[in-house]
């Protein structure tokens, strides 16, 4: 489930409020959004991919919360990790050689 909005990273663009399919976030006038309906989170990771500032973290447990904190996430370099792996961060997504990719075929 969605667990963290980093106040240090978030610029308050409200993209996450717009894109979350299950309407988990709520915009706050003059501030950054809040996780208003955490129980509705379907753990789809879409907010992370769309957040331009890598300010969100979705924990892998879809059935409950884990209580992971912002300093732990920073220390582990987890903010933005999914956006990087789908190639939406700077640098894109560099494909391994076709010979390697062809191992998945057949």
């Amino acid at each position: 489930m969605i667990e963290v909005i980093s106040a240090a990273r978030c610029t308050g663009c409200n993209i996450c409020v717009q894109v979350c399919p299950t309407n988990v976030f709520a915009a706050v006038k003059g501030g950054i959004p809040v996780i208003a309906r955490q129980d509705d989170c379907q753990t789809c990771y879409m907010c992370e991919v769309w957040c331009p500032d890598d300010a969100l973290y979705v924990a892998p447990n879809a059935d409950g919360t884990e209580g992971i904190t912002e300093p732990e996430l920073e220390a582990q370099g987890r903010f933005g990790s999914y956006r990087r792996s789908v190639g939406w961060a700077k640098g894109g997504r560099v494909a391994p050689a076709p010979q390697i990719m062809s191992r998945l075929r057949g």
Binding site: V17, Q18, Q42, P60, A62, D63, S85, M101
Partner: protein, 535 residues
């Protein structure tokens, strides 16, 4: 009980030739195709067109087969027997053709397909986030107006019974919208009963319910027993890499007969006995690199849980995907994807996919091909129908009933209703491994829930969506089990413990419908019994 739409407290009234409900692959292809034919199109999504639905967070393999007769024949044969020979060769051919041209268009539009060693593009799979972001862009460029966070609550009809629009919620404002339209496309996806399978919690069968309220029929609702594997407590129900898995008990000893394909029953049995099932993937270093690149989402929950799936045994579970990766849905009457309701079209998971994969799952390639093909046809059919409706007299009637109309009873407790439906539908022994006695027992509870919901009073604005979702899941489960009961054999994904064999006399479709009285009736298949499928 007729009721005009005049008294609805609507904050915004719009009109369109075509209203598309749902903004996944099916809805976006429908919208783009209808707009290309000159129709004024509005697309309304419960969530956000571009992230919502099963495809955006998941990504899909696609049934993309070049028009080479040998390859096409092989593709058509691939699920013919597994699908219990319920598919229709004519529809398979059309879908292969339409998918080929749609996917080629995606390439022209700039979708980042990977390259093969010879420099050509590999077009057999689509990354979900890229695909659906691109589709949103194309929908907007086509001049379609998108209403995000705008779930439809009910359809509207005219005096003749033809569909004439819809009413929905503006979820982030708490008020209602209404669109009057010449034709409507239902592209609301399947129903996965809030199981948290990847991207599926917006998929609660709403489209089935609203269409059935106008008298539309369903087909193949017994093919609704799809479960998909995920890391325990994880949501990522991407199953392909489990082909590399060995499945064991907690102590590392193998589970007899367990496999991702062809050995799911052993896994489901072990899980329902309360024993853990553990997986470990056997793949060499290069294959691991390829896997990580091909499906980054598969690894997100594992990496974040500190699990190395190639060295650690990790617990897995099966999450219900029901009709999302099953094949049942609204029945189509012709090649334009028309339902039996004038002006109402259905596409994608909201429609039956028996036409191309029969009784076997449409996951892995067929569903994605179906969504883009049927979406295009439904959009085109709706645009044509709407042309004939321009300027029609505008008395609108509400088609929706239970949960949103004034009633004598108490309001429905949406959370309680949802809980009660899920209690019945989620267990493997009710939905995956079926038995007549259990189906009867489930139905009697579900019918009772419907009977008490019928007379309920209108939900509050805050609870209207949840109430309708609960009712849609309830109605879906009743069509599923009534159809499952009517099919006294095992065929494709429909497995009856009390009838373990296929019965050639039941090589037919099961049509279902009705709300207060759920009914089923068989219908003949189009396909020949033993055609060797040549393209």
């Amino acid at each position: 009980m007729t009721s005009t739409a005049d008294n609805l407290q609507v904050a915004t009234r719009l009109d369109a030739d075509v209203l598309v409900i749902g903004g996944g692959p099916a809805g976006t292809w429908a919208a783009i195709t209808a707009a290309a034919q000159g129709a004024k199109v509005i697309l309304a999504d419960k969530g956000f067109c571009g992230t919502s639905g099963a495809t955006a967070p998941s990504g899909t393999g696609v049934w993309y087969v070049p028009p080479d007769p040998g390859l096409r024949a092989k593709a058509m044969n691939s699920r013919w027997d597994m699908g219990g020979r319920l598919a229709d060769p004519v529809w398979m051919r059309r879908v292969l053709d339409q998918t080929y041209s749609n996917v080629n268009l995606l390439s022209e539009w700039g979708h980042p397909f990977p390259q093969a060693a010879d420099g050509t593009q590999i077009r057999t799979s689509l990354d979900g986030p890229d695909y659906m972001r691109l589709m949103r862009k194309r929908v907007k460029a086509a001049g379609v107006r998108i209403l995000d966070h705008s779930p439809v609550l009910e359809l509207l009809r005219d005096g003749s019974g033809a569909v004439a629009g819809a009413v929905g919620l503006r979820r982030q404002r708490g008020d209602l919208w209404q669109v009057q339209a010449g034709a409507v496309v239902i592209a609301t996806g399947g129903c996965a009963f809030l199981s948290k399978a990847l991207g599926c919690n917006v998929l609660t069968g709403d489209g089935y319910l609203m269409a059935a309220e106008l008298g539309a029929e369903l087909s193949g609702m017994e093919f609704s027993s799809a479960y998909a594997m995920a890391m325990e407590h994880g949501s990522v129900t991407k199953t392909r890499f489990y082909d590399w898995a060995e499945f064991t008990y907690a102590d590392g000893s193998p589970i007899p007969g367990a496999a991702s394909k062809g050995g799911r029953t052993a896994i489901a049995r072990t899980l329902s006995a309360g024993k853990g099932v553990f997986a470990r993937l056997n793949a060499d270093a290069e294959t691991q690199i390829a896997m990580r690149h091909a499906q980054p989402n598969f690894f997100v929950p594992l990496d974040r849980s500190g699990i190395n799936p190639f060295t650690d045994r990790f617990p897995v579970t099966l999450r219900l995907e029901a009709t999302v990766r099953g094949t049942g849905g609204l029945r189509l009457l012709d090649e334009s994807c028309a339902t039996s309701v004038p002006g109402l079209y259905a596409a994608g998971d909201a429609a039956t996919r028996e036409l191309i994969c029969g009784a076997f799952t449409g996951g892995g390639s067929h569903n994605a091909a179906w969504a883009m093909s049927s979406g295009a046809w439904a959009g085109s059919g709706a645009a044509q129908f709407a042309r004939g409706q321009r300027g029609r007299a505008a008395q609108l009637y509400r088609a929706g009933g239970v949960g949103i109309r004034e009633g004598k009873g108490a309001r429905i407790d949406a959370a309680g209703l949802t809980h009660a439906v899920r209690e019945i539908v989620l267990p493997y022994e009710n939905t995956y491994q079926r038995h007549g006695a259990r189906l009867e027992a489930s139905l009697s509870t579900l019918d009772g829930l419907w009977a008490s919901a019928r007379s309920a009073d209108e939900a509050s604005r805050d609870e209207a969506l949840r109430t309708r979702e609960g009712l849609a899941m309830l109605a879906t489960a009743r069509w599923m089990y009534r159809s499952a009961l009517a099919r006294t054999e095992s065929r494709g994904m429909h497995k009856r413990e009390d009838f373990p064999q296929a019965d050639e006399a039941q090589r037919h479709h099961i049509i279902s419908g009705g709300l207060d009285e759920v009914w089923t009736t068989p219908a003949p298949v189009a396909g020949p019994a033993l055609e060797v499928l040549a393209a």
